[in-house]
């Protein structure tokens, strides 16, 4: 299934960009968990943090799909707008959760 190598390693760089972004997202999610552990556990905050973690999983899923598409094709097609939108909506929803935790 391996595709011929692109001399500029564009698919690899894009794959790593997805990985970096997922990692940054994980840091934000860990900070959300830390917020609850230090700020007192209540039913609402646990639900909000669980939501943050599932949003991170959603992002991971989008990233995983994209990485698979990049790995299996020699000429990967452009990212589909619905994947872009899904990724952005995860991030926006996390920000809203964060606002709920902070206030």
């Amino acid at each position: 299934m391996t595709a011929p190598r692109d001399p500029g390693l564009q698919p690899e760089r894009t794959r790593l960009a997805w990985r970096r972004t997922t990692l940054s997202y994980a840091v934000a999610a860990v900070l959300a968990v830390r917020n609850v552990l230090h700020g007192g556990v209540s039913a609402t905050s646990v639900v909000v943090v669980a939501l943050c973690c599932s949003l991170w999983l959603g992002f991971l899923w989008v990233a995983h799909h994209r990485i698979r598409a990049l790995a299996t094709s020699a000429r990967p097609t452009a990212l589909a707008p619905r994947h872009t939108t899904a990724a952005v909506l995860c991030v926006v929803a996390t920000a809203v959760c964060a606002a709920a935790l902070v206030v």
Partner: protein, 130 residues
Amino acid sequence: MIEFVRNVRLWFAPDLVREEGDTPDYRFSLANERTFLAWLRTALALIGGGFAVDQFLPDLRWAWRVGLALALLGAGVLCSLRAVNHWVRCERAMRKGEDLPVSRFPALLSLVVAVVAVAMVVVVLVGWEG
């Protein structure tokens, strides 16, 4: 404004983007995708910053702490929405062979980050005294 609404429609409709123009070299699309991801990381860093203000400056008065945190979180939301919008605009420009869109957003974001940074310095100095 109408242009923006049109772009929002394109966020959700993959086929509409492909209707106009020709498919550019896949490397350009991938470069556009990496730029989008870089903006998304910036947004995530701002969101992480919002959490950090809340957690690592516990001595601040509530209003300042929550205000700063919300400012950073709001900047994160704006940044991520702008990321997808800019990605769509670039993708369309490349397909139609037009110039890539220019944007005031990077300058605006730098100003906001600079102002928040100055505010943090002031707040930390004043907050620890008072």
